[in-house]
Amino acid sequence: MSRRAAFLEGMRRAPSTGAVVLICSFVGYGALVHEAGLSVVQAVAVALFVWALPGQVVLVTEMAAGAPLWSAAISVTLTSVRLMPLVVVLMPIVRGERTGKLHQILLVHFCAITIWIESMQRLPRLPRAERIPYYWGFCFVLVSTNLVATVVGFQLAATLGLVLAAGLLFLTPLYFVLSILRTSSSAADRLALWFGLAMGPPVFLVLPGFELVLSGLVGGVAAYLIGRMRRRRA
């Protein structure tokens, strides 16, 4: 298969259950940006230049609250730590023998959970020369569709009735919690999920603005330590 054919094949094979779920959650994200009081341009720009839904939602929330730059940067960067292990696992599969550093950096900007899951399933079956064009074809369709979904969600939030607009907003927490469960591979991951869920609301009441960083650090460290003790004993 030529590189061009591999690109087209990646585009053609982009629709999947994961893609449908992602589109739904980008519609929800667009609605969330609308409710936060930001513009549709900001909604699309944040989606394209962050391309990781949890980071997008955190950034938009911080922007709407008028949070200082450092606070927003810390919160977003703490949500994005999870991307690093994904990239570490993905890169040896995607890159060719002579793929330049800059090209690799561009490639991984679009590596978030959905594209990662699909790539891990599909790319290993392809000859190495076809993997990057296939990946770009796949990313092209997924990214452009979801930017449209963002605009659609933003507009829908403005026009839909109360009940359906609430339904759109509810897509974000549902998608996040299920994708964490879907990709959690250890007891520590699942503990971190329950600790974070339990800590978020009370910390928000006591120290609003610090609930994400504080719950992430305290809940995450506790989950990691408990997970480590269990592994030692096993």
Binding site: S39, G55, L59, A72, V76, P92, G167, G200, G216, V221
Partner: protein, 115 residues
Amino acid sequence: MTGGEGYGWLVMLFVAGTLATDFWRVLGVFASLRVNEGSEIFLFARAVSTALVAALIARIVCFPPGTLADAPLLLRLAAFGSGLAVYYAARRSMLSGIIAGEAVLVVGFAVYVNL
């Protein structure tokens, strides 16, 4: 900074958005040349970021933005719980979980509004 007046948000987007996120992706590219996935630092980082996103989830459910706040807390919790329950019941199908959670919320809210 709200509402999109001025260009200050572009600085926010670049520094707190792209740099804050792509820092880890680029680090991943370089680490992929030597570190393996099971190392302790990764397990630690995964746990912290999972707990942070979980706190965000709980905050959106308990203190939601916009129109979602008009749905009663009990209904939001019930919808969230049924999403999780159906996800497991349907052999870990995300789509089923999302549809179930959404159905409970939207139908429940519609009934509540019309009471």
